[in-house]
Symmetry: C2
Subunit: 138 residues, 2 copies
DNA sequence: CACTGATCGTCAGTAAGACTGATGATTACC
DNA sequence: GGTAATCATCAGTCTTACTGACGATCAGTG
């Protein structure tokens, strides 16, 4: 049996993760990407859209669409940034904070189930390895 | 600093991998997914499109498009399957085998560079962990 | 102050990837 | 022989994420 390529392993490892986190977040009306945006907006507030985009390494135009969606759902609000009129200060609404709290717990639980087939040691090494592999030293 | 979520880590670990394997395969005119298809077709020949699709866990209709592309590039040929006239026996052309050989070497080398920041131990554990995480026990 | 260049948010258009659902041809079941 | 399942295909759709352009605003220079 030939050893599978890393690309295959990553793709399907990620697919299985999505199959767990997706349904866990679905009752809250968001997906994993939106939860990530909520997390950054909450932690770094008040933050411009581009700062948040850089934090998550997503495109600036993608962030526009994400904030659009979250705003439509009433989870965030665009406000004029105090220091710079070009920027939006994007803030979580009360409901946004609630969804963030519950979403974080749901994902935590889903990740626990996801990692269940691994030993404690493997989980630790996996996380450390991914951390380094995900970082470009460009 | 808050621990990043698995979804983020997987996404960006995969992005960096693609940034290495993509250019490595580019001179051959294929991408990683096409190389994977060539690999399966070569190992299991003669194989129907759906068998190959199942092997790689991609959709049957996606496989049609992949074989279309590979056929256009002269790397594979659809032939009537000896046992079942519904099936195509998809086979590598001579040039397809050459591209597979050189592509496999190129990806091997790219993966080596990709894993360079990890210790030998970490590489072993990572692979074992991904293997299990990528497998649905459904 | 006036100019130049950069930054921020936005929008339109596009491209890749992968799906659903339908179809015709063929095969297997009984 | 008739019904159900399988294979490859196609059209259409959906998601994700991009490029390139735009107006508005800011920062630095002289």
């Amino acid at each position: 049996m030939s050893r599978r390529r890393l690309g295959y392993l990553f793709k399907h490892a990620q697919l299985r993760l999505t199959r767990l986190t997706g349904p866990a977040l679905e009752p809250l009306g968001i997906d994993g990407r939106e939860l990530a945006v909520l997390t950054v907006l909450d932690a770094r507030s008040p933050v411009s859209q581009q700062q948040a985009a850089q934090e998550l390494r997503i495109d600036r135009t993608t962030m526009v669409a994400m904030v659009d969606a979250l705003e439509r759902k009433g989870l965030v609000a665009r406000r004029p940034h105090p220091d710079d009129r070009r920027k939006n200060a994007v803030e979580l609404t009360e409901r946004g904070r609630d969804v963030l709290t519950r979403g974080a717990a749901a994902v935590e639980e889903a990740e626990r189930a996801y990692l269940e087939p691994l030993t404690e040691d493997e989980r630790r090494v996996l996380r450390a390895a991914l951390d380094r592999l995900a970082t470009d030293e460009d």
